[in-house]
């Protein structure tokens, strides 16, 4: 035998475990979860942080998220099972902590995303598509449908339908979703590509003229661009602000609200093929992060080329400063809506609209997929009633958890759209979701010490710097960056909870945490009455 050739492994006839989701599907899933088609950063940051550099801010967000995503790679390969953050944090910090954090800050707060995805579907998917079709084909009924979709009743009905259709798709079998995901993926890529192309092939002056004509057809407003510019300036927009480095750093948490979802596939690690293979998880999570960050940077470059900094600031003023003159048909000037104004082709409008509609639908699917897997894991661990953990024998899906989440989403959808103060009350959503991921990065840092045997058996254990596990280094870096961004959501008025001086948003965050603690305490007591301890669900038995 040649020295350089290693001997092969001997096998025998024994059964094996096979999983359903390919690494490529998981990679696509993460990109779609980041919502490349709804880049909030572009309508939020330019006027909230005047003088900041959008592209640099996205690069900072990528660099800050990178160690967090790497920390997840270690966690996902050491614990390749469904339940993700709940499993990671329960294993490292203990069940009470893991349950409270993930139940309160993910399961409860992601209900807001169900409502938001319905709003996105109605306001940024269906409404602009039909308004665009109305303008390009001269058909009033399309414009009327578009206007209805953006009305309160339209948004509520579309949001509930969005959640219901997603429920039916996911309950019918996970493979049906995986199959449909490819349709969504290619439709979204086509839409995103068209948007890029339309921005890259126009100039700011031509874009202003096209927007004027488009808004003239939609709203009957003449000289839209100049009017919107004046209104934005009156509202406090400086069209020639000096560069602001700290403001640029503060763009990072905003861009992070998209990029932080690069690791969301970890919630269904038990369904991903070769989930324990290190380089596979690097591709799934870090790869998705890099691709999405690149696409966002590309979009920023395209917007600068197409409508210039002036156009970007006007679009942002409609959202952040609430300038009504800087909206189109009552909608914020997201890149897709502006792109629709740049074309006279109803087919192009339809293709862009379809991409946005499907990405909105994909986001609500993601809400269900991630949270139901977490609820099933919690149910099996005895921290939610067993009912949540039941899998339908025919469809092989957690029907009860799906139905519970749909029912839970209804009041949130109604509140989101009917209660004027709702958005202000729920400013904690960015903080809450970010906190989960930041704490998971810390869990990764502590994995070699809090779950030593588990860590030693994981493929990432071979990576060290000196005697220090590399996961501890990236985990600490991820935790520090994550904590800084979560801290920014807590204390910076441009970013979240501190937007108003009101303490209510903070109290609501605390209230959800308290809810998690109460549910844990009740279930713990209930299990104790059966002579069982829920702590057993997580406690590692010493082998010796």
């Amino acid at each position: 035998m040649a020295e350089a050739t290693a001997p092969q492994v001997f096998t025998r006839r024994a059964s094996g475990l096979v999983r359903v989701m390919s690494p490529y599907s998981a990679f696509v899933y993460n990109i779609l979860t980041m919502g490349i088609i709804f880049p909030w950063t572009f309508i939020w940051a330019p006027t909230a942080l005047q003088g900041s550099n959008l592209i640099l801010g996205i690069i900072f967000a990528f660099l800050f998220e990178l160690p967090i995503a790497l920390a997840y790679v270690w966690l996902a390969t050491a614990l390749p099972r469904s339940g993700g953050d709940y499993v990671f944090q329960s294993r490292v910090f203990g069940g009470g902590f893991g349950f409270t954090v993930v139940f309160a800050f993910f399961v409860v707060w992601i209900l807001q995303w169900v409502a938001l995805s319905g709003w996105l579907l109605a306001v940024l998917g269906i409404a602009p598509t039909f308004i665009g079709l109305g303008v390009t084909t001269g058909t009033q009924v399309f414009t009327d449908i578009g206007s209805w979709a953006a009305s309160t009743s339209g948004i509520i009905i579309i949001s509930i339908a969005n959640a219901l259709v997603s429920l039916v798709l996911l309950v019918s079998g996970f493979r049906n979703y995986v199959r449909f995901q490819y349709v969504m993926w290619y439709a979204i890529l086509v839409a995103f590509g068209i948007v890029l192309l339309l921005f890259f092939t126009t100039t700011p002056s031509a874009a202003a003229a096209k927007l004027d004509a488009f808004v003239g057809s939609v709203d009957g407003v003449q000289g839209f661009f100049a009017t919107a510019r004046s209104a934005a300036e009156a509202a406090g927009v400086n069209f020639n602000p000096p560069f602001w480095l700290f403001g640029t750093l503060l763009v990072a948490p905003i861009a992070w609200t998209s990029l932080q979802w690069a690791t969301y596939s970890s919630e269904q690690g038990g369904e991903i093929k070769n989930a324990h293979v290190f380089r596979q998880q690097v591709f799934i999570m870090v790869g998705a992060l890099a691709v999405t960050a690149s696409l966002l940077i590309l979009l920023a470059l395209a917007m600068q080329k197409g409508i210039g900094q002036e156009g970007i600031l006007i679009a942002s003023s409609g959202y952040w400063l609430g300038v009504p003159e800087a909206t189109i048909g009552g909608n914020f000037m997201f890149p897709n809506l502006m792109a629709m104004a740049f074309t006279s082709s109803p087919i192009i409008v339809l293709l862009i609209g379809l991409g946005f509609i499907l990405n909105s639908f994909q986001i609500v699917c993601n809400c269900y997929i991630g949270t139901t897997r977490i609820m099933v894991a919690m149910g099996l661990d005895g921290l939610l009633p067993d009912w949540f953990a039941k899998v339908h024998p025919r469809w092989k899906t957690p029907v009860n958890a799906h139905v519970a989440y749909f029912i839970g989403a209804i009041p949130v959808i109604l509140g989101f759209n009917l209660v004027p103060e709702w958005t202000r009350w729920t400013l904690g959503v960015t903080f809450a979701n970010g906190a989960v991921m930041t704490l998971s990065a810390l869990a990764a840092a502590l994995l070699p010490y809090r779950a030593a045997k588990l860590y030693e058996a994981s493929p990432g254990a071979v990576y060290k710097v000196g005697n220090v596990p590399l996961v501890t280094i990236v985990g600490i870096a991820g935790f520090v960056f994550g904590a800084l961004m979560v801290g920014a959501f807590l204390f910076r008025p441009e970013l979240g909870l501190a937007y108003t001086a009101d303490s209510l948003p903070y109290l609501i965050v605390l209230g959800t945490a308290l809810l998690g603690i109460i549910v844990y305490a009740v279930m713990r007591q209930y299990r104790a009455s059966q002579g069982l301890k829920v702590e057993y669900a997580f406690a590692e038995i010493p082998p010796e």
Partner: protein
């Protein structure tokens, strides 16, 4: 004097810890034994599949070093410390190993019969050590460990249980044995046919006969705990990917590009749970299908398995008077 005896109505509940499919993993088995003290249970019930699936030849190289292949990576072992660490990783993963010269390695290449023989030798050796370890660990306690095989184990290897069992270890394989003062444990280690053509598979009709033979002499089946390796068909405890057995290794069956899930359990087991309404059904076999199903009054469980990561997936179930008082899945 005990007026109210273990497991009887009004008495103390019997707490069972159940785990399955550890496939040769040393730390997982050691955790299983320690579960008696850790979870304060009365009985450790194992649900089958004790044997590991891979054997790693560690081949002597020039200069006293060794070469081996593990998880797709080549390993060049150059020191005693590296060898200890390498073998520890193999123990966690449930793999067997053998140090050998290149000449010996060549005698195994392409000879599956010889390889299977070596598997049996190493697996029986490990199982004897495990039974002895159980006797040692549980000595002086009231807890017993009930062992059996699964479809992946060979009869030759399983004979090691009877050879070594003394006071604390009970060979439960295809037997009815007392569990406490009230309940009996009925164990069937076979599974329905799999795409992998594993050593101990039976058709559903054969399983039905085996189960009925075992239950024939039981006075009150409602006081029986079914420890059937194979889960009931289409219960949600048996969901896995459908595989094409015409190729080796079997590959997922795709429909319009997507893999197909199906229930790989046993109709005979489902029928037995429905007809006899035992206290509880304990099942393994399908590692990825952790969950609960209900047959009339009878709950059936599969705690799943993650032996390869050294994680012991298990279930604590408290029973009394033929009823389940509560359950708790564990991940230890």
């Amino acid at each position: 004097m005990r007026f109210l005896r273990k497991g009887r109505p009004g008495g103390e509940p019997t707490k069972i810890f159940y785990a399955s499919d550890i496939h040769g993993s040393e730390p997982t088995y050691r955790k299983f034994l320690n579960a008696a003290r850790f979870y304060e249970v009365d009985a450790l019930v194992f649900g089958g599949d004790l044997m590991g699936k891979l054997l790693i030849p560690i081949v002597r190289d020039a200069g006293g070093t060794f070469r081996a292949r593990l998880q797709g990576q080549d390993h060049h072992i150059t020191s005693e410390e590296e060898m200890v660490a390498f073998k520890r990783a193999l123990q966690t993963l449930g793999f067997y190993w053998r140090e050998m010269d290149p000449e010996e390695y060549r005698t195994y290449e392409g000879d599956q019969e010889r390889i299977d023989g070596l598997f049996d030798v190493l697996a029986a050796e490990r199982l004897r050590e495990w039974v002895a370890l159980a006797e040692e660990r549980l000595a002086g306690t009231h807890a017993r460990v009930y062992l059996c095989g699964g479809n992946d184990d060979t009869d030759v290897v399983l004979s090691a249980i009877d050879q070594e069992a003394q006071d604390r270890v009970v060979n439960a394989e295809n037997r009815v044995v007392p569990l406490d003062d009230e309940h009996v444990l009925v164990t069937v280690g076979y599974s329905t046919p799999t795409p992998w053509s594993t050593p101990r598979e039976r058709t559903d009709d054969e399983l039905k006969v085996i189960i009925e033979d075992l239950l024939r002499d039981i006075e009150d089946p409602s006081r029986a705990v079914f420890n059937f390796h194979c889960p009931p068909l289409d219960s949600g405890l048996d969901t896995c990917l459908k595989l094409d057995a015409s190729v080796w290794p079997p590959t997922p069956v795709l429909e319009r590009g997507q893999p197909v899930h199906y229930g790989a359990g046993s109709q005979a087991v489902a029928d037995a749970l429905t007809a006899y309404q035992p206290t509880v059904g304990l099942h393994g076999h399908i590692h990825e299908s952790r969950g609960i199903a209900t047959y009339g009054r009878t709950p059936a469980y599969n705690p799943g398995s993650e032996y390869g990561e050294g994680v012991l997936r298990g279930l604590i179930v408290a029973i009394r008077g033929g009823e389940v008082l509560g359950h708790q899945f564990t991940s230890g």
